[in-house]
Structures are given as C-alpha cells and as structure tokens.
Subunit: 458 residues, 2 copies
C-alpha cells in the first residue's frame, strides 16, 4: 500500500505542491456545501489533519455520505496550497478501507476523560490521547538520546525477582501455582512453583543498576516497575515506567548536576519537537503550560538544605495541615510551597534526616542526615528521588542490621562495597508523572495506554 | 568527583596530550618492572583500558602493591602518546577509592561462562560481559533511532493483563493473595485479589499495539514479555525483551520491507559503532562474525513461498530428522538449511498454512494459507515473526470461533475491525536473541544481566 505519511507532506509542503499523491487516514470531521465537500484526514503521524477538498461534480452521488467520522480512507489527489498557507489535497479518487457505522462511540463532540477511560481501545483515537501518546514517545526518545549522548549504557534490570526487598509488602507475587493448590508450608508451596521459590515483580531496578554501574560506570534503566499499593489517587498506578540512572565516581553534587541537565534536556526537547501538541494542552488542559516548561529549561535550579527548608516553612507564616518539623517527611503541601511560593522554580532539597530515608543512602558525617535529595517542581512537588549510595561496607551493613533486614539476602549488594567500592549515586524518575507534568494532564490514568490500579484492569 | 571519562580521552587523544588529567577506574591488570609499573585502568565507558605508567622513584614503596586486580582508583597524571599511537597516562598522584582483597573471585585468568553465571553481580566486570552489555545498549538505541527516524511512536503496552490470551497456559499469574489463602471457587479467590480478577503477565504487546496503530498509524513497543515455559534450552528464558512494531496501511509486502530495513539498520549501526567489541567477539566467540554481519547488511533478503520452501527441502537430498511436509511447521534444521545451505543469506518464508499459525493472521484468498512470514538468518534460523493481521471482522470472528476462543473477551479487538478497519501488519523480534546473533554468544543467559528461567532465579 504505497502511500505518503501526512507528516511528510506538511514537513515538505513545497515539494508536494502540484503533485499527485496518495495518502491514507481516518476521517476526523467532514462538512458539505453545495458543490464542494471537505474531509479532514489524520493518519496518526502528526497533529495536523490533511484537508481533502472534493469537487462533488466529479464524483457520483455516494460521495456526499462516504465519510462519516472514523471512516478509513485511501485518497489520491493533487496537493495544493490552501488559503492558510498549508497543504491540502484536491481529490482525484478514493477507496473506503473501513467503514465507521453510526454506533461508533466517538462521534464529533467532546467526551469527558472519565467516559473515555471506559474504552481504552478507542480513546487513543481522540486528539487528547493522540497528543499524549506522541509527547510520551518523544519524551522517551529524549531520555535515550540524553543518556546515550552522555556515555551511559542502557541496561535491563530484571522484572521478576526473588530478592527479599524492603517494602516487599508492596510487591506482586509472580506464580504458576493454581488458585486451589495447597501445601503444608510457604516453603513447600513455592518449592513447587516455576522458580522453586517465591518470586515477585520488581519495585525498582536500582540495586541491579548499582551492580552494572560498578562495571559499566554510567548506566540507566528505563523499564516498568510495579507497586501493589492500594492508594486510589490521581498519581498512583500499579504498573509504571521508571527511569533509574546510576553513576560510578559520582557524589551527591555530581548527580545533582546530572539530574538538572537531564530534566532540562528532555523538557526542552519536547518544547522544540512538539510545539503543536504543547499548544493544544495549553489551550485545553493547563493555562500557562508553555511558560511553566520554559521556566524549567531556563532556571538555575535551587539547592536547599532540608534543615533550611524546615526553617523557611516554619517562618513562612503559611497555614499547613501538617506542621513542618525537623525529622518528619516533607508533605506535598510543603514541597509545593517551597517550589511555588518561595522560589517559583525547581528546587533540590538535600540532606534529609536518615531515619525517614532508605537504608542504602550515604550517611553524612553529622550522623543525623543522609546525602539524599528530592527534586521539587512547581505544580507537582517531588518529581525525582536521588541519593549518593553508601559505599562503606560496615556502615551499610550496620544500617541494614538496624532496620532488621536479612543481610544474607543482600550479600551480593554488600559485595559491591567489598571489591573495588567507589562513591556512586543515582536517581529515579517516574516517567508517567513526567508525562503528566509536561502535558498538563492531571490524572495518571490518562497518560498510560492501559492503566493498572487496584480493581482497575481490562 | 570531577574527572574525565576514559572514552573521551581516546576519542580526542590529541586534545589531551601534555595535559594534566583526572580519571577514575578499576584495575584490570598491572605489572611491575624494576623502575616502572604499569596499571591498566577501565572505567566502563569504553572497551580500551587506559595504561597508567608509574615512575616508582617518584612514589613511596607502597605503590608497588597498591593495584591488585579489581581495585578502584582515582588517578591524576599527564596524558602522553605511547608507542602504539594511543594515549597513556604518566601518573602524578593517586587515591585508592576501594580495595580489592585477595578473595576477589575474578582474578586475572579466564573463567568459564558457567562459573560466571553463578555470580551475576560480578561477571558484568569481565571483558565478555562488559562488551555484551555495551553492544546490547547500542542495539537498543539503534532500535529507538530507527523507529523514531521513520515516524513510529513508541508505546508501552501493559505488562499486567486480564485478557484471556491464547496460550494463557504459558502466562504467569500476578497476585497479592498469600500462599495459604483459600476460596470456594476460582472466581471468589481472585475476586479478593488486587485487581478483582485473575491477572497475568503479558506474553506479547501485539494486540495493544494494534489498538495504538489504529490511531497513531505506526507504533512500536520495546519492553519485556514473559513466558512460563519449562523449556530449558540455550535460547529460552521466562523474561525477555521484545520489539513489536505495528503499522497501519501496510500489507505483507510493505512490512517485509520494514523488517529488512530495520534489521539492516541495527546491524550496520553496531558494526559502525562497536568495531572493537565485534572484533573481540570474533576472536573469542565466533570466527567469521564480522563477515556474517556484513552479509546481512549487504544482501538483498530472499522472499520464498512456504510451499516452494517445502519443495526445495524435499528435493535437496539432505537428511533431516523431521521430514519436510506441507502443512507442518518448519523445524530449526529446515530453517537453517534454507538460509545457510541454499541461499547463504537472510530469507523471508511467506504464506504458511493457516492451521499452524495464529488466529489473528490475514487469511489468503486460497483458503489454505495466511499472509505470515518468518525471517530466517544463517546461524540461528527464525529471528523475526511477522504477519499481516486479519482486518475483516467476520473472517476474524470465524477464525476465533473455530479455535474455541472466548469472543467476548476480545470484543475490543474485534472493534478495531468494526470501526475504520484498515489493512495492517506487524512483527515481533526477540531482542535478547538479536543480541546473541550480533555478539556470537551462544547461550541467552549470557546476554542478560539477570536471566530468569525455570528454577533459575537469584
């Protein structure tokens, strides 16, 4: 089916003018006047529709009703320049590839996002979801581009894991045992399972990322992670895509530079490559979106010590639901106040109290804090979690013991501190949330093709 | 820890000569002579080690024993040109970042791949696994590059699925139910589960790929797929990475062009960007590797009808374990004979008997075959499975009914044939097998960081 992508026609308009050309696409809208009909065709390759102009006298009477919304068409015609300086097609012949009967659920009108969530197989045909998926693809590509250009190796951390990970309560079990299989003990039950022991879906590829970074120097994962959390919010799903870089020979200051550089790069890449999509989201979903994104690209991000952040919040005079206190987590209200009210740009909060952070983070000399940082952005709060990793064998083993962890299950991880240990750091970015941030979509279910959450699957 | 990646020094040797420079890395080997010591440092960013030359008179006596294999070092020195026209460093000062005690398992000698499989957290530090992972990363990047340059959108098909897929026997169950939970029926058991019904890990993203292609036109997935197969072979794992493009407005001939173009692109990209790694694999793992890969890039792939393939095999006079018969699967011995003995280059075998292929493939006019093709390559056999998809609602529904499938569970998939159906085609490539093919590694466990198979997990 030789044909031309509509994207290419718009990108090289002058080359096509006057030429007979074949396109394929789906009807977005159509309208009739006395002698002429207009059909807007979209083939998914770009935001813009190609307008097809039909001189009705040249076709039989059928043509008038041949193009209901959703109809698939192969159209041949001559490309011309229309009034608005864009390409359009003067139709010579056409073939209906697939009809769109009257019960097609996406007739020409705006549908609520809630309604569209009930039909994931069709909603991707709407302008909103086409644009979300295109921006998502560009953002993913920008991620690969950034890391590859900067000498990182892409690695695939395992998704099925037997590791007795912290937060195992949040992990899904992966099994081939049937619902009515029984055994005398947990051990015997899983001994008969596919892997011979209990296996679960990975919540993070970080630990394997560290393994790889101790050889390849600079690595990144970009793959799915899974959390069996029952939180029914607009920001949580059970299956999400995760970017987790890990860098050898990098201390906290170094990785902060990388995070800032990476975030600016991908946001700028989308601004440069998806101007029409961003304008669409600005119009329909988030006023000020472009300015928000430009501010990210052009700002110098702030680096703010956690202790200082607590002080600023306490002195702010603002009324918070949760009082800001040293030693407690920053709540989203605090994070947003810092980044939206105080600085009006992205802020790294650094050196959190060690008791509210994970066992693997590097313990600072003060004995109270760890070399961790969260990147906060206006409109969202935390978007990246980051830390230098503890590189000292004894300090790491102590932290694990204090948390009651099973040291034996982590002997491989401790080995990294035994043989050629080096300062190293890494971060994690929830990719779906980054797509939300860049598009202005406010529910994570709307940036994922088939979102998965508690009791939500189809 | 400001320092320079060793890759950058080799890439811009002339710029560094005479300059004092800081590098970090791990000791690969070291040797002592009377006045001078040599240490080979690798930081993971490239194949080559940086040779560090130590004038022993300028350091205290400790220097002689400071660099056992595996030690992590920060080294400052002046870059000079060595005899072989490559950069080396004349050491000025150094700091040991992490020691490597004598029980380090990877002392300087060759280890068997079997032995290395017992320690996935350390084997990635060997030359073989460093090179495999670097080539894997480049091959992954080339995949994104190819599809993005050609107007495909990257999509993430869901990994957790409730769809009652063909081959569900091979799917892992994903659950939050405990090993000793019981219920009166399967339905009640899973009603209490996280998703409220039985969920499993996806074996393929194709069906969701088709959903997306019906809107975005050209899409590709690149993510994990899972098979709970008990086949303990050198080519099967339970968790693998899968490239699954799907193209609207493409018939079998069109997708064959795309497959050929894509495979040539990624193989050429690795030849161009990983010459040292490929030379390493040629030397240690597969004689003739470079010629094999160049042959792929430079050949016009053959397109051969399945019926003709059977005839050629029958007339070949070759002795096969399985007799080639029309209506039966091609065995690996047949596939390899066709591509290695008859054509000596990649071959598309097309139009297989419909009874040995999947329900979703387009039925040919002969009533006996489907518009499917497998790409066979010398040394492996099948590497890509591909087909035009059935776009006709009634034919598809018939094929599903004949196979005893639950039509209701696939109503979304049938909807794609009801509303604006178009000819469309797609293919699947097992990414890990492609890494094997390009590196010459003969066991799939050696191209994956943490391979997963029956009873194999750590």
């Amino acid at each position: 089916m030789k044909h031309t992508d509509i994207k290419n026609i718009f990108a090289n308009c002058a080359d096509y003018i006057g030429k007979q050309t074949v396109v394929c696409g789906w009807v977005k809208t159509s309208r009739n006047s006395k002698n002429v009909a207009f059909v807007e065709l979209n083939d998914g390759t770009c935001f813009k529709n190609l307008q097809v102009v039909i001189d009705k006298e040249k076709f039989d009477a059928k043509v008038e009703n041949a193009f209901p919304v959703g109809t698939a068409v192969k159209a041949e015609g001559v490309i011309a320049e229309s009034a608005g300086n864009v390409c359009e097609m003067s139709l010579v012949s056409y073939k209906i590839l697939g009809e769109s009967p009257l019960d097609y659920p996406l007739q020409k009108k705006r549908h609520s996002l809630e309604f569209l969530r009930t039909m994931p197989h069709l909603r991707v045909r709407t302008n909103t979801f086409l644009n979300v998926q295109r921006v998502r693809s560009v953002l993913a590509y920008a991620t690969h581009l950034y890391f590859q250009q900067n000498g990182f190796a892409y690695i695939n951390a395992p998704l099925i894991t037997a590791s007795d990970c912290e937060g195992a309560g949040e992990a899904f079990t992966v099994t081939t045992r049937a619902w009515n299989d029984t055994a005398k003990s947990e051990e015997e039950y899983y001994a008969e399972d596919f892997f011979g022991k209990r296996a679960s879906l990975s919540v993070s590829g970080q630990l394997e990322g560290e393994v790889a970074a101790m050889a390849l120097g600079k690595v990144y994962t970009f793959g799915p992670s899974f959390r069996a959390e029952n939180s029914n919010t607009t920001r949580h799903v059970a299956e999400f895509w995760h970017v987790e870089p890990e860098v050898a020979f990098a201390e906290l200051d170094d990785i902060i530079e990388t995070v800032e550089d990476y975030v600016k790069f991908i946001v700028k890449y989308v601004l440069d490559n998806c101007p029409e999509e961003i304008a669409f989201f600005e119009k329909f979903y988030e006023a000020g979106l472009t300015a928000k994104l430009k501010n990210v690209v052009e700002s110098d991000f702030v680096v703010l010590d956690y202790a200082e952040a607590i002080k600023l919040l306490q002195q702010s005079g603002a009324e918070f639901v949760f009082k800001p206190v040293w030693g407690e987590e920053l709540q989203t209200e605090h994070e947003r106040y810092i980044t939206e009210q105080i600085y009006k740009k992205p802020v790294f909060v650094t050196n959190y109290p060690k008791d509210i952070k994970a066992f693997y983070m590097k313990q600072n000399a003060d004995g109270k804090t760890v070399a961790a940082t969260d990147l906060l952005v206006p409109g969202v709060g935390e978007i990246v979690g980051c830390s230098e990793r503890e590189a000292d064998y004894n300090k790491l083993a102590d932290a694990m013991t204090k948390r009651g962890m099973n040291i034996d299950a982590y002997s491989y991880y401790l080995d990294l501190r035994k043989y050629g240990s080096v300062p190293h750091s890494g971060f994690g970015l929830g990719f779906d949330r980054m797509v939300m941030y860049v598009t202005g979509m406010s529910n994570i279910r709307d940036v994922i093709l088939y979102p998965r959450a508690s009791k939500e699957i189809r």
